[in-house]
Symmetry: C2
């Protein structure tokens, strides 16, 4: 799946990727849309259980490496500072147009894992304090600690997307950020963070339907903001900004993947697969005991 969905290393043409397509979906599931959906949902459940086991191994290994007295939580920026060679954490970066399905993907895919080992951070418009720093400052503070699976709901890529389209900074500033992002991500991957960068790719028509749903269902009004339509009016500009970001920052160490996302069940299945392949690479296992197991059993049973 990673090779199939990967873009970059050249110009990216988003218009050539059909948001309703289902690359990599096995033929066994390729009958009616209803049966494919049911099959994919069941697969996500199974994949989620497998991801949960791998997530536990990742966590256990990091705990063992940190030593017994290490705090098991309340992660701080200091804990998350990179500095180790072997990949010891995974970071899923999710980007999409409004209504692209970031929240739904997190609910379904991350929701299948153990919440104790998840480190989810969402990035809205930067606060006044955040604006006083470099654009990567708040990103660094949000990195997952060793052993965790991080999820970024939006990310530093907003700083070359919305910042560019809405002219929040001069062109020279956002143009320089491609290299800054690449350097930052090289630093991350070199120090134990395995990046999985995903753009959820929806069509203009599908966004329209989802926005209409938010305007029709009162339980969805809270997800809508009038500025969503202003962004929609600049659809072409955003697609161009995405294409350039994917092209400029799709590196071998941290490639970009485009997941066709008009079909939610395919989207979830594809993202779960990308995570699964990433975990498989890490060749995870449970750490060996750092104590004398037989002696402890004697202590316990004699006690």
């Amino acid at each position: 799946m990673r090779e199939l969905l990967r873009v970059g290393g050249g110009a990216v043409d988003l218009a050539a990727i059909d948001p309703r397509s289902t690359p990599g979906l096995p033929a066994v599931a390729a009958e009616g849309d209803g049966s494919r959906k049911a099959w994919a949902r069941e697969q996500v459940r199974l994949l989620g259980a497998a991801l949960g086991r791998q997530q536990e191994m990742l966590y256990a290994t990091a705990q063992a490496a940190a030593g017994p007295g290490a705090p098991t939580g309340a992660p701080t920026a200091a804990d998350a500072a990179p500095g180790r060679g072997r990949p010891d954490r995974v970071l899923l970066v999710l980007q999409a147009m409004d209504c692209g399905g970031k929240d739904g993907t997190i609910r379904r895919v991350a929701g299948a894992m153990n919440p104790l080992g998840l480190h989810i951070r969402s990035f809205g418009p930067p606060t006044e304090r955040e604006r006083r720093h470099d654009f990567l400052w708040r990103i660094r503070r949000a990195l997952p600690p060793p052993g965790y699976v991080g999820v970024f709901n939006r990310s530093h890529y907003e700083d070359v997307l919305i910042a560019r389209v809405e002219s929040l900074v001069p062109e020279a500033t956002w143009r320089a950020r491609y290299d800054e992002i690449n350097a930052f991500e090289r630093e991350l991957t070199g120090s134990g963070v395995r990046l999985v960068k995903v753009m959820l790719h929806i069509s203009h028509a599908e966004q329209g339907e989802r926005l209409l749903a938010r305007l029709t269902d009162p339980t969805k009004h809270w997800k809508y903001h009038p500025s969503d339509l202003d962004s929609r009016a600049r659809w072409g500009d955003y697609q161009a900004a995405y294409a350039e970001a994917l092209s400029r920052c799709g590196t071998d160490a941290a490639p970009w993947h485009v997941v066709p996302a008009d079909r939610k069940w395919y989207r979830d299945w594809a993202v779960a697969h990308l995570l699964r392949e990433t975990f498989d690479d890490l060749d995870l296992g449970y750490p060996p005991a750092d104590f004398d197991v037989a002696a402890e059993r004697s202590r316990l049973c004699g006690a």
Copy 2:
């Protein structure tokens, strides 16, 4: 359930609460242990779905109150600073002896909710930096922001439990903490945090079996540490420390609940119920639109 499981407002006798009992479990489920277990697991699934909906309303309401420009994540200590009257977040505080089932409860109960709206923090031995501050310092920094469901995996109560039993601080210090905790929790509940404090109550025999399982199954070795047996040797001291903490800090604003936890399926069902009753109290709903719905529909469909 809250009234049934509540302790405090007088001396607490943990020995009088059977860790294998199942208070509040409906008679319909009271046949064989196997069928009760299946029934409870299914109920937790259903309760989880309901909790997920209520969690979304809590989140949506907080988002609407914060205004459209508010960052939707990357919670900071400043975001979490109390200051509002109406309850706008829930904080589940979990305490238990080793192997008491805190992690399992989080996986099963919190895992049924949307991970985007969860704020889970675990507290291990304080770091050097944390020890330079008041014991509540790291707790304040870990509070959930408005709209979130927080879970504390251990908490400030360790500072009157392990700190007392292991003599980490002088008696005068930990004795003073009961009042400090009560003042702190009064401040929290007065400013929008609804506390759900739960002690998972297991028996000495059940702990022995679970420790043996961790020593027997190599995939569980990482959860074991030889110091677990040292704590087990002081079981009586810990039970006494728990009893006094529950008694001294079981207030009307922030009561303590003891959940019999030898049976994992009952434990999960009871905790899910406590959360459900807490959410029901909040009388949640979706916020009304703060924009002209008809006008936005026209804009969308005309575009």
